[in-house]
């Protein structure tokens, strides 16, 4: 597969959220606004690229039976780095994303990519794959975040589009499920 393909497949064809239905918790949990969604997406992208690169670097050194734990350690390290850096330099966003930052560790996308792609491919491809997937994730979260923000508080990226409050449901949990459900129905080819 060419590198461009590696990069773009994450956006629609193999979009981790809309098509592969991975990483649902952060998707639903932090998509209350476009900014939050994209922030979370970027944090995940960083972890994805980092762990993909490292995994593809060390793939030949790892015995099969400790593959998963080793990958988990690698991933967890990158997550912790994100955690610390965000805490230090973006405390407001960190407070918003809260629990979901450490939970990137268990996001199936990350481990899935490490397993399915990085452990078989070259460093370059893996990096691009990670970037593509991560941005695809960020893209999906951005969309969902925008939808929820527009419907829920009638604003986008913090700018008020209309006066008033919007439909509160979309800021809360039920709205997250409902909005994502319709987005997937809309995007899927049926």
């Amino acid at each position: 597969m060419n590198q461009l393909g590696n990069f773009t497949k994450g956006f629609l064809k193999e979009n981790p959220v809309f098509v592969m239905l991975l990483g649902m918790c952060p998707t639903l949990g932090v998509s209350t606004s476009a900014i939050n969604g994209i922030g979370m997406g970027l944090a995940t992208t960083f972890v994805l690229v980092g762990s993909n690169v490292v995994v593809s670097l060390i793939k030949d050194l790892i015995p099969d039976k400790v593959r998963i734990p080793s990958y988990i350690v690698v991933i967890a390290s990158f997550v912790t780095i994100v955690e610390l850096v965000m805490q230090g330099f973006m405390p407001a966003l960190f407070a918003q994303l809260g629990l979901f930052i450490p939970l990137i560790v268990v996001n199936c996308i990350v481990l899935g990519r490490a397993e399915a792609f990085a452990s078989k491919q070259s460093v370059g491809s893996s990096a691009i794959d990670g970037l593509g997937m991560g941005l695809g994730f960020a893209f999906a979260l951005g969309i969902l975040g925008s939808v929820r923000e527009v419907l829920g508080s009638q604003s986008l990226f913090g700018f008020k589009l209309l006066p008033g409050d919007g439909m509160l449901v979309f800021v809360l949990a039920p709205g997250a499920f409902i909005a994502l459900g319709y987005l997937i129905a809309l995007i899927r080819k049926a």
Binding site: L21, T80, P102, C108, F177, I178, A185
Partner: protein, 190 residues
């Protein structure tokens, strides 16, 4: 009374799946049959309780005294991963019948945010060990309740001619959304 409040809060008011968005992947993944959903709930109950105890001990006995709070994510996930596999081995040896019932779900649980999420929440909420365990059990029950109800609905929907585009995940998300909406009625109970 304190424990009752913790339980009601975790099961109904802040249901782990419907309000906190943890463990959505298995919630969507293993909820197509009531039987599997029951098995999964049992497995999650077991693992969450065990993991919470161990991680709480590690946090208070090792990480806190040594000032290693930042290693929380990486140690917790390693512990959970190792624990799940250990449980698998022991279960297989001690009770093959139980293994048959729960074993297949165990690998799924490693990458389930609910387990890591609850472990971290217990630490964040400054619970003591007993409170932590009650909280963990209550959350697992909340997970089980949501999963059970949900699997019943999905099994039912299987037989209904839901519009093509909505079939499967979209309608499941929509149902989860309305379920979350209904659960909001419990707001303010605690």
């Amino acid at each position: 009374m304190e424990y009752v409040i913790i339980i009601i809060a975790a099961v109904f008011v802040n249901n782990i799946v419907l309000a906190q968005f943890l463990g959505i992947c298995p919630f969507l993944g293993v909820s197509t049959k009531v039987g599997t959903a029951t098995g999964m709930s049992m497995a999650v109950l077991f693992v969450i309780t065990l993991a919470t105890i161990v991680t709480w001990l590690v946090q208070t006995l090792v990480l806190d005294p040594l000032g290693l709070g930042f290693l929380q994510t990486i140690t917790f996930i390693l512990i959970i991963a190792a624990l799940v596999q250990m449980v698998e081995i022991i279960l297989k040896k001690v009770s093959p019948s139980l293994y048959q019932a729960l074993g297949i779900f165990l690998p799924l649980i490693t990458t389930n945010c609910a387990v890591l999420g609850v472990a971290i929440l217990v630490v964040q909420k400054d619970y003591n060990l007993l409170q932590g365990v009650v909280f963990a059990v209550a959350n697992a029950l909340g997970f089980g309740l949501a999963l059970l109800i949900f699997s019943g609905i999905r099994e039912h929907l299987e037989l209904m001619d839901v519009p093509r585009r909505m079939r499967g995940v979209p309608i499941a998300l929509l149902t989860a959304g309305i379920l979350a909406l209904a659960f909001m009625g419990f707001a303010g109970l605690v």
